[in-house]
Every structure is written in structure tokens, then in C-alpha cells.
């Protein structure tokens, strides 16, 4: 099954989105967003994978530079992706703390009022 890793990425994205919509707690929502974002890591890394290839890190004399490595471009993109995901998570969690202070609840269903 050569599409299996891609379908795993699609599944992770779906579970994350369902979790966000059905969440009863904002912290759960933030974690589900991280799950949905991790789908992109799986997708990127599986696009760049090559069977029996080595990591794109060279060093004399064990592994001389060669082209038989997995795609480093998508790995670099995944690193960027993880950094962005971590920053978004930190910011959203601090927002959740503020919401809990203001409203005394983290249930999105109970947050109906706008407050200045």
C-alpha cells in the first residue's frame, strides 16, 4: 500500500478537526489543533521518504556526500512547521488561561457573552 502513510496524515487531520469541533474544554481544543497540525508532519515526511535511503546528514568517512538520501527539503519544512505549532500552542494556552480568569470556565459552550 503505497498511499497508506498519506491516508494516516488525512486521518490525523480528520481526528484533530473532529476533536476541535466536539471539544468541551479549550485546553482539549488546543491539543486537538496540535494533533491536526501533526498530520502535516506525517504528510511532509512521507512525501520525502525514499526506501533504503540514508538520512541527509553526511560525514567523512562513514557517509560521503551522495544523492541516495531522503528529501531534506521537506524535513526542513517540518522543522519550521513544528516551531510554528509550538508557538501557536503556547499563545493559545495563555489565551485559555485568560479566558478562565475572566469567565471562570473553559467550556466553549458556556462562553456566549461578549465582554469588553
Amino acid at each position: 500500500m503505497s498511499v497508506y502513510p498519506y491516508l494516516v496524515a488525512g486521518w490525523l487531520m480528520a481526528v484533530g478537526i473532529i476533536g476541535i469541533v466536539r471539544g468541551r474544554n479549550l485546553v482539549q481544543t488546543v491539543i486537538c489543533l496540535s494533533v491536526a497540525q501533526s498530520a502535516t508532519y506525517v504528510l511532509l515526511l512521507s512525501v520525502g521518504y525514499q526506501r533504503h535511503a540514508t538520512p541527509p546528514v553526511f560525514g567523512e568517512p562513514a557517509s560521503k556526500p551522495n544523492f541516495h538520501v531522503v528529501d531534506p527539503v521537506v524535513q526542513a519544512l517540518t522543522l519550521t512547521d513544528i516551531v510554528v505549532s509550538a508557538t501557536v500552542t503556547a499563545l493559545l494556552l495563555s489565551l485559555a488561561i485568560q479566558i478562565h480568569k475572566r469567565h471562570g470556565t473553559l467550556d466553549p459552550n458556556e462562553l456566549n457573552t461578549l465582554e469588553g
Binding site: 503505497s2 512521507s46 546528514v57 560525514g59 544523492f67 528529501d71 519550521t80 503556547a90 499563545l91 495563555s94
Partner: protein, 249 residues
Amino acid sequence: MSPRVRLLVLAVGGIALAVLVVPALVGLPHFGGSVHPYRTHAVVASVAHHSANVISSINFDQRGLDTLGEESIFLASVLGVVVLLRPAEEETETASLGGGPVLESTKLAGYAMVPITLMLGFNIVTHGHLTPGGGFQGGVVLGTGIHLLYVAGTYRALQRARPIQVFDWGEAIGAGAFACLGIASLAMTGAFLAAVIPTAPLGHLFSAGTVPLLNGAVGVEVASGTAVLLAKFLEQAIRVRPAAKETEP
């Protein structure tokens, strides 16, 4: 919107998304195949600058400008957290920091791991162009490693070992150093973040041109930023309390 309607909207959107995404995923190049055109170009460019870790070369040499943006996102996020988590008017920061009892074995393990973790973090940052790792990864190890002091001991010990002001500066200095290196190379070669430093052969510590310097700048920034982030969240849990309510008339 009732939960039922919300699920209905989700189902409609999900089906529409699946109709588009599943054919796209099935139509991707076969998993594990050998056709990676970008790989070929990236490896050639990386070896030309004697960078052993191609991923670091991509992040700090070939896509340096993107990494500057990535770093700015991190800086902005830390700034946002600091602003959001500052004590509000109706809150006070308590001075009483009584902690629960800590197991002796936890203390021992914690104190033993602090130097090892910090050393590992430095190693990951400084060898980011040679082995897997780099400024972002090593920075996170460093920033969290300091907080082992809290796990092992007391919040007070952590406060003594981690003057938060220094990390505020470190955050700004790291981010500024990255931009300054870019401007310096712009002045020297006419290209922003170009590799300006002559390099040693591939695999040596001082190889890969500007990559180790940029890695170091990012390492300082991320280590400081992570420390500030964790400090702010810890402060919320431990020190910030709602002020005693005034009795209503």
C-alpha cells in the same frame, strides 16, 4: 449553534473536504519512490558550502530569510504570552512559595540531570551543521533543562538559578544577532544572509560558513524564549493569585 447543528455542519464540510483530499492523496508520488528533484539541488548546494547536515544548510543557508521569519514568529509568540500572562490589576503575586515534599530520588535524579541536559543542549546547538540538531532543537533542550531545577527542588532554587531578566535580553539579542548577520552579509556581498565566511572542509567544526553562527543566534533566542515561556506559565500556576475581594457594601 446547538451541538447537533454543529456536527451537521462538520459532516457536510468533512465530506466536501474528503472528496477533494482523498483523490489528491492517492495521486501523490508513490511513497518511498526515488524521484526527489528538490533533494538533488539541496544536496548540491549544501555540499558546495561544506555543510554536512543538509537540513541545517537548507534552514540557515538556502532558506535563511524564511528562518528569520520563523524566528520572528517565535519572538512574537513569546511576546504575546508575556503580555497575556502578566498579572492583572485584580491579581497579586504571592511571595509564599511553599512546595510539597519531593522524593530524595527525584531530587538526586533532577540535580544529576541538569548539567547533563545543559551540556547536551550546547552540543546540539554547536554541532547543528554536522549532526542532526540545530539552534531550535538545542534551544528547547536548554530552555527546558534549566527547569529541571524546579522538578528536583524548589521554585526558589529555580528563581535563583534563572534570573528572568537575562533571558529577556537573550531573547532579543538572539533575534537581533540573526538579523545583524544577515545585514552584515548584505553589506559584504550584496545578498541578504549569504554565506560570507570561508569554510573548513566538510565535517569540521568551523565548516558550513555562516550556518553555525546563525545556529548559535537561534539557539540563544530559542533557549531564552523557552525559558521565558515556561517561567510565565509556572508563575501563573504558583505565584499569581486573585487579590482578596473587597467586602461589598
